[in-house]
Subunit: 366 residues, 2 copies
């Protein structure tokens, strides 16, 4: 058990944005809200997965909806507590800790905010090892756990509690409510026993986010190349380096959908990359060949600062690298690929791990 | 306190369809489900408003959504109990009785079904004295009562409980959930104290529906003119007599919207009438002059049988009369007109009571 200070929270937010693969919300917004909570309710506490008791209960908090409106409609106020209150009134069992549902710039940090307000710890893990745009796309789904009761709240004071027959229905109903609530709102979900959280947890991801954030900060102060640092600490692959020349983006059915086109620079001069996203980056295509796909992580990184650029911030002219990071092994099982792989998002391609895709590419060009 | 037998339930459903002004669901479907419940769980009990205790609790059950899909998707099965269970889990106070939210062919009868299953009585009243297509359009809204907690269930087992800041938000969120549940589903709403139900209740409407149904049945067996009987028992006005020559209908945002055009017969030969509806009939225009409007009741009646024709059953070629019935006085207050009058539905006209509109018309033509 340890507490996080302001600097550590900033590091977590920054690192979580790298692992958030373009989604999970803008880390700047997350940091603003978290530092405010720190000043008001004290530093958040983090525990290891093994510190959870088997028979205690945990639940998860996440922003549900499209991240684009979050920039205009800052929904990290009293509605976080309201969504917790709505779950509590239905679930009626005390929560021992909060589990971040995903690693992302906002969605990891809001667990720290709520934990601090409730005086309960946040577990150093998550259920994705990345960010994903749909409620069922978490490791507990692979173990048959339910997202329900699933409680949503808005800034007006409206609350909804969903008890769905499965996690796909939780997603459908929750998304429709989030749209009615103004396209994005907080939701408390996946209340479960500690022992069920332990089996599904992807461990140490909050610490990993913090480490990534701290290494980027160190590189900044030492004037080192942030990209070299990132590649090392994430064990990632530089899939591309170039300039964003076009971004197509639309908000539809409660998601930010679109693609970004990039023109290559340096080693990638003369090549083009297209990154396709649904809140999160899903597919990276280099000269029309797929070089990275879900469930592996694809993140757009500012090549000057090493800062992750979330999909709602992508913009013409940014000079970036495209970072590919292997996903957690839970996603590479047949059930994991079926749940969170390319076919789930409508891409009729077989999943190939990003390391293999890029070995092959190097061989071909050699 | 009295119980209803099968014949009385059939009478209620038939009479409620007349008062349902085209909405509230097809009485045939309501009767099917109610007679089935009668055989399985015994006859429903009806009490007078004054038999309610002040400090006991009541709630209301209604189908939320568009009646058109109800014809294809018969949603009066286990989901009725499920919506009750969802309310109970949140509200956690025993219900002393059920209050029909409106008078309509399905929505009055399902209160009888649920009452029979739960072994609690149904109160001889409703909150509209007619049917209306939106959750807030009930007399309790005029007294500041809340529709929440508002519980919806579908036939798959999905349940949602809404705790909205006001009844307009209950409507918005409830409608969006009903659409996701397949355009129509049952909802438990307006849980409140007996004394609050007493002040808002429009009394004796269930008995009135039964009387209308019984008189129509008597007329049938005695081969009397059912229209003359209806006009007498409802104290209604024959606004038009003719043949349906066109029906425009669409299902949108969870409602059945449209209009029916009629060509006149007998006294109305050479005239045309247009009836505009949103689940319920809202406006009747005789040769482009409004002769009836919400909150007054407008019902399309088969001129041979005296049977009410709900908006989803309107069809080319039907020979009908258009029956106008003065609404309850609660709707004729300024607050009542603002809540349920023509402007609420986007018609920029002042409310004029149907009796005055039709006196004036007769004077003009004299």
């Amino acid at each position: 058990m340890r507490t996080l200070d302001e600097q550590q929270i900033r590091d977590v937010a920054r690192g979580a944005a790298v692992l958030g693969t373009g989604g999970g919300g803008d880390p700047y917004l997350g940091t603003l809200a978290a530092v405010d909570a720190l000043n008001r309710t004290g530093p958040p506490t983090v525990i290891e997965v093994d510190e959870l008791t088997d028979e205690g209960y945990v639940a998860s908090l996440a922003m549900v909806g499209a991240p684009v409106p979050l920039v205009e409609k800052f929904s990290l106020g009293p509605e976080l507590m309201e969504s917790y209150a709505a779950l509590r009134d239905q679930f009626r069992k005390p929560l021992e800790a909060l589990v971040p549902v995903e690693i992302g710039g906002v969605n990891t940090v809001i667990a720290l905010i709520l934990g601090s307000r409730l005086g309960i710890p946040v577990v150093d893990c998550d259920y994705m090892g990345r960010a994903y745009p749909e409620v069922p796309l978490v490791t507990p789904t692979l173990y048959g756990r339910s997202a329900s009761p699933f409680a949503l709240a808005d800034e007006r004071g409206n609350k909804v509690v969903i008890d769905a027959v499965d996690n796909r229905w939780a997603e459908r109903i929750g998304r429709t409510v989030a749209i009615e609530f103004g396209a994005i709102c907080p939701g408390m979900m996946y209340p479960m026993l500690g022992r069920h959280a332990k089996e599904a947890a992807i461990r140490g991801t909050l610490s990993l986010a913090e480490t990534i954030g701290r290494c980027l900060r160190d590189a900044e102060s030492k004037k080192e190349d942030p990209i070299a640092v990132l590649l090392k600490v994430t064990r990632g692959i530089e899939l591309f380096r170039g300039k964003i020349v076009d971004v197509q983006r639309r908000t539809q059915r409660g998601w930010s959908l679109g693609d970004a086109t990039l023109e290559g620079m340096d080693d990638f001069s003369g090549s083009r990359m297209v990154v396709r996203f649904q809140n999160e980056n899903l597919i990276a295509e280099l000269d029309q060949k797929v070089v990275g796909m879900v469930p592996d992580l694809i993140t757009v990184i500012d090549s000057q600062t090493g800062q992750a650029i979330t999909t709602e911030r992508l913009h013409y002219g940014f000079r970036v690298i495209i970072l590919g990071i292997p996903c957690d092994d839970q996603w590479r099982t047949p059930a994991g690929v079926a749940l969170g792989g390319p076919r789930h998002f409508g891409y009729d391609i077989d999943y190939v791990p990003i390391e293999r895709l890029n070995d092959r590419r190097r061989e071909t060009s050699a």
